[in-house]
Symmetry: D2
Subunit: 349 residues, 4 copies
């Protein structure tokens, strides 16, 4: 098979690098362009020295229009507000776009503008954007030209709660998601708040009641519930490089036992290779999914309070960003869904 050609815009962020690394082992894809505003002209392997000897690519600063003529797929790994200005129908006529940023995730432009505090310039292409949560929207993804790759917290949160919401098993007015992320989630940049000695040996919540992944989780769970959901989402910065753990709480709607809930999970997930529903009494740890496409989900019923506690774990850079981007690409191009991402999680790394 001829390899398709790919470009990564925003290649020097952690997600960009992880994407390059995964695609390096992809049998049907070749990354031919790596773009970076900050490091234009430098060798990619001088910025990411793990890639020393593995690539001769130099970082460029090409226009997306130009790249669209040269490649089959463009990955955008950019801060919000840039993609909506630059992606247009003309580009989508020429190549597929997978946006790892936030600009095309929220279907309602007004909600986007409210939470992100910037104008959305891409309303016309927003309409055709598909929310790239592969385990839920694979049919649309296969036909999409523009996929909005989900956020890291949202991937973990939605997948953890989806069967319970879809199955109407929980009271959606009582959902609390307490999520913990490694520091790669904050991106790669010089910033005192993510400096080693400020993050190390400490944990904190941040953007309490105001994190931008909140409306994204609400959007997808509202669709599943077929009604509007507001929920509490609290992210925490955890002293580790990678991983997201989402501890989710809700009052049960029913006199459900464990088996009933398990049934719901299996109903929606039984054929989903990368979702592992853990055995009763076993709960996720972020180390068990590190550098992999897997999400581990465990849950229990707390009879004393009539609640369910669901815990999900992913690697924020892999399933929560670049791995899922490749999974989306595989679906969009008709490759096997698990191509290049069918790897066991690493242990003690």
């Amino acid at each position: 098979m001829n390899k398709i050609k790919a470009a990564i815009i925003g290649a020097t962020g952690y997600a960009g690098q992880e994407l390059f690394r995964i695609l390096y082992s992809h049998p049907y894809t070749e990354v031919v362009k790596v773009n970076s505003v900050s490091y234009t002209g430098e060798n990619y392997s001088d910025i990411y020295k793990n890639l020393n000897g593995l690539t001769e690519l130099k970082l460029t600063n090409d226009e997306i229009e130009k790249l669209a003529d040269e490649v089959d797929v463009i990955f955008l790994a950019l801060p919000h507000g840039i993609a909506s200005k630059n992606v247009n129908k003309n580009i989508l006529n020429k190549c597929k776009i997978i946006d790892l940023g936030a600009d095309f995730r929220l279907k309602d432009k007004n909600i986007y503008e409210k939470w992100y505090k910037v104008e959305h310039f891409g309303e016309d292409v927003l309409k055709e954007a598909v929310y790239g949560l592969c385990e839920i929207h694979s049919d649309e993804i296969k036909k999409a030209r523009l996929v909005a790759n989900p956020g890291c917290y949202t991937t973990c949160s939605i997948l953890s709660l989806y069967p319970l919401v879809k199955g109407n098993l929980i009271n959606t007015d009582t959902i609390v998601i307490d999520a913990k992320s490694g520091v790669t989630g904050a991106g790669r940049k010089p910033d005192i708040t993510t400096s080693y000695c400020e993050c190390n040996e400490s944990i904190k919540a941040y953007k309490i009641a105001s994190h931008r992944h909140t409306p994204e989780i609400e959007q997808e769970l509202s669709i599943a519930a077929n009604k509007n959901i507001n929920l509490i989402f609290t992210p925490h910065l955890t002293p580790m490089n990678r991983g997201i753990l989402a501890t989710c709480y809700a009052k049960l709607n029913c006199e459900c036992d464990y088996e009933k809930l398990k049934e719901a999970y299996l109903k929606y997930y039984k054929d989903k290779k990368f979702i592992r529903i853990l055995n009763k009494g076993v709960f996720p740890e972020t180390k068990n999914v590190k550098s992999s496409e897997y999400i581990d989900i465990g849950f229990t019923i707390d009879k004393r309070t009539g609640s369910v506690i669901v815990i999900g774990a992913i690697d924020n850079l892999f399933k929560g960003a670049s791995g899922q981007a490749v999974q989306n690409m595989n679906l969009m191009f008709g490759f096997e869904e698990d191509t290049a991402i069918n790897l066991p999680p690493l242990y003690a790394v």
Copy 2:
């Protein structure tokens, strides 16, 4: 002033060592005995090499009865189930006891036995035990012969929620406490689950819906509410040595604004030196209270869900164990409450 004499039973655990270290700088107290079953006969400073040159004490295995004749106060830092067997009226007639373990925290022997799965042998002395949460029970503590030093999670959780519960500002059926602890909370012992490579770079929840600090939190908040409370408490193991962050959620009972809640906190805490209510928009990080007696508390209202989110942070070994034990001792012996624990938190340590 003559120094009082103190003994530490269970001196080789992390709380025992921290207690010794704090008391080392206490002007009115001298630790004269350090007990340890596992290391009897060894130099204390060979086990804790930070104490090299600072103490000549050898670890002993004396009976508590014998120690009661020799010292003014005995600190117990033992696994549950031992103290209830060994503390009796006769001992309390001779010296004061501060128990850092769980045996005298729960006023109801049946609840203790249900959660701890062992028989409680000290029912007679249990009746006179005072729950040593200094900011709430200082009057009783001053008169007590036996103080049950609160658990680490419970100290942080109760103090974070107490004013809201006492002031009837939240719906107590909706309380969720999602707590994160450093690994010292698991104690000092050879155990694969707390080995470096198994804990490092990962986070997990544990003892979900079943942790033994749950009934302790419920007991104290129920007293405050004057009604029975059941709540959800989920502890998490976080890759850091020290610190507890408790992220607490509840639906509001009222149309309260931030100022109304702040008022409640100030009402109960305004004279409490070691409680710091953070400014609006500022939230705790465990690093800011490290190696100190302080608890930092911050909160916000989430109007979208009609909820309050309160976050508390302590050092689990200091305010959550040994520092509070010294605070209790200070109250019991009539020393200034902050003697030897009036230290600024360490930064970047």
Copy 3:
């Protein structure tokens, strides 16, 4: 191609698991047996939950003789002293052995017994054992039935110094190797010295002037130098999961400049895919080789002291153990040398 069959004895150590994980993606090998004395009868994926859903293998405790009948290659990942008792000519007639332990690394039984303080029972097979440092001994490895996979520290140390010693560029009486290792190097076991809170946020040297990798480094460098070498080797325990950094010092033999030394490195390593000689002024960091077969080497001349400083970095579990074991297997079975280990290092993991 039919897959060869492999067994791993000692599969529940970190090296054993890493080996299983690498072989999981090997196109020509299938692991059919995983042995463990401690966990016999349990599901492998219950011990290593990252493998959940990826293998149905149960841990067995088969005799090596029996396994030799069933598989093409046996990997031993055992404490020293066991392999020498169990590997014999009869077994080698039936299958190939790759020993990740120490028993067949030292050619001189007496040196082994002196450093390891146990008797060596496998003198006859020791004679045919090949030291499996792939970049130096590939010709012998290809023909070997029994390969002694090098130690982690030794792999990094020898490869860092080999060209300088072989080229007679340094005074071999002045070699100092100051090495730093992540905690996985200490193995997976409950032990207070490797518990999280004892290792975290601290660094120490250990086995000073007495570590067992010393004679192994000396053996290989002595062969290269064609004379007996004694050197100083000091290992340090570093608070991280993985990685070895070896900082090596020696007085120069000559008025060499940087280019002269570089020439020596290129002479011996220019075709070695997994050795990366860094550009002038660039030095290794363990993060750049994580979870990979690469060794990064950088060096500089210190004119003020007439010395060279060479620094090497590897992943101790990958190139320093399991990855190199697979590289050895590839050579022994005629597969491409880089099969299944041709992966870019992971970043920020």
Copy 4:
């Protein structure tokens, strides 16, 4: 006793904060001014939230001339090149100066300018500056008006080797110092190289054969040896907040045994409270001196190579910077040398 007044210039660096924290508990000193160019006008406790409620000081940007009129002692915690421009005789006539930076450490202006690549403007005051290594120069320090507080690496390195050099027990042409530091050593600033995910889980050497602490170590050891010494010093960045471990190597000059070397250490250090010579076979770990003024020193003889290996450990921010600054102040003002720094090291923090 009336308290002396102190000012800290550069109060928002890690050393500045640590100094403020130590002086907070000093019975005879009050910090009345905290200066910071970057944060002028802000509350000190808004930058360092651990100090919340403990100080009302605002950060100022006063001229040192002005401060000299207001206080008894000024601590400078500034990047190199600033102090030499600003400290003059007039200021020294008015108050004492303790400079935590590098400008007055090297007695030879030319060596300073060669290594630091900036002009030295304070040659006249340089002459009267005393090198503030308290255990070696206490007599001069007591009389000094200007003390150059030693560097962190240098404190650890010099104290580790001083008795061997002074006693002519080692070949000073063969000294190698391989030092490992926590990340606080790099200061507090937004910088990609000290961001969490770039430092975490990795170790590297840096400024190889070129670190500016080299001439400082050489200066002091040369004085001790009464001859010029050139040595190798290699710093490493270690993934932990605090601590320096210096592993030092040298060929022995003599047929010395362990006892002979121990005698040398005791000769020079037996009355030095903060130097702990460990028992034979025991070696330092940085955790054992954390947040303390202690240096732990252990050593062994390697007969095979005729060498001694000495290992020293300190807390880089405490003994290596701010604690030693207070020790210097205590000596300069006639306080007990250990005032406010006589604290046991913290454990598992």
